[in-house]
Symmetry: C2
């Protein structure tokens, strides 16, 4: 009797594939390594997923969704700018803490074929996502609550401060001179730091 019930094989493959692809990227990943990690053999891997490409597509789409959808939802909420910023920082940092390889993986693969990504995974429903944020900024500026600021630059700043440490970690640790534990500490404190840093920067 095929073991099926208790630990679904397809799920085991997806878990292992996620792990390996995220760490090593498409080019650096071997089907053998995924099979080993999932405790099955290559043959079975190809039984579930026709090719490395098709398996990769699955993993990549999931990862891209994770990275984009959260921010998309927040940007489109009709809430005051300050809350929006807090939410972005809070939600995104939490998610990245649990998936530290995610941004590097997605942005890398994205960079190898940007066209494909833009066409396939986004469509044009992203158009109004950012205008939601830009509008929030404009409102506050017009009301005299914050300084005049380019919403696009502000968005880049926030997203940069949130994501970059997870990508630049080795460099940061060496330059600042801290070990893994201290880095984790900094990340923990970082949510509050970014929130107040940004607010201070735009407040009138």
């Amino acid at each position: 009797m095929p073991k099926e019930i208790d630990t679904n094989t397809e799920q085991k493959i997806l878990d292992s594939a996620t792990k390996v692809f995220h760490e090593k990227g498409y080019d650096g990943t071997r089907m053998q390594e995924i099979a080993d990690d999932a405790n099955i053999n290559k043959g079975l891997l190809h039984y579930y997923f026709k090719s490395k490409d098709s398996l990769f597509e699955t993993i990549f789409s999931l990862a891209l969704g994770k990275l984009i959808s959260k921010i998309q939802v927040i940007l489109e909420l009709e809430i005051p700018l300050e809350m929006k910023i807090d939410l972005m920082v809070e939600e995104y940092m939490n998610m990245l803490s649990k998936n530290s390889y995610l941004p590097r993986f997605v942005l890398n693969e994205l960079n190898k074929n940007p066209e494909k990504f833009i066409a396939k995974h986004i469509g044009n429903n992203m158009k109004n996502t950012f205008s939601g944020f830009a509008l929030s900024v404009k409102k506050e500026v017009d009301a005299g609550l914050i300084r005049q600021v380019d919403a696009r630059q502000l968005f880049m700043n926030i997203i940069s401060m949130i994501i970059f440490p997870f990508i630049g970690r080795p460099m940061i640790q060496v330059v600042i001179g801290i070990d893994n534990k201290e880095f984790q500490e900094l990340i923990k404190e970082r949510k509050d730091h970014i929130k107040s840093f940004v607010k201070q920067a735009i407040k009138k």
Copy 2:
């Protein structure tokens, strides 16, 4: 007579290898592609560089040096904090604008073997590099010129805002909804934006 004088073959190889490695990373790079780009054949490539690994080592060391050395020098300068920040932004953004693949390449490869990098390329002379920056911050705080701020977080903020757009470009363009030209415009304006953003954030 071997053509040697006018376009040095080794340099041509280094140029092509830089181009291909930076774009595709170690795993994605084929020796054939480097040879093609340099208009020579694979055999000759191995005549100049024993292996793909040795060629990669050369390219990676150069890239890492470019990414680290500039910041190291600036951080160690004995100048006021404000000038230090301006210099970091100015110099780094200029360099990255001319080498937009550099940070992605270095940080990626770095992440694949951080140990090797830390041991080999840095040593311990980085220790006092960051203390130079931390000291600049402390001075200003003590003098009551800026708000109390964690120098490590501040450093992360600055470096993130400078580097991330070059890594996250495809994502940013899609989310904000801008084309290549508009992105270039934003990058140009970004130097001044970051400078004032940071100063506003820390000013008392």
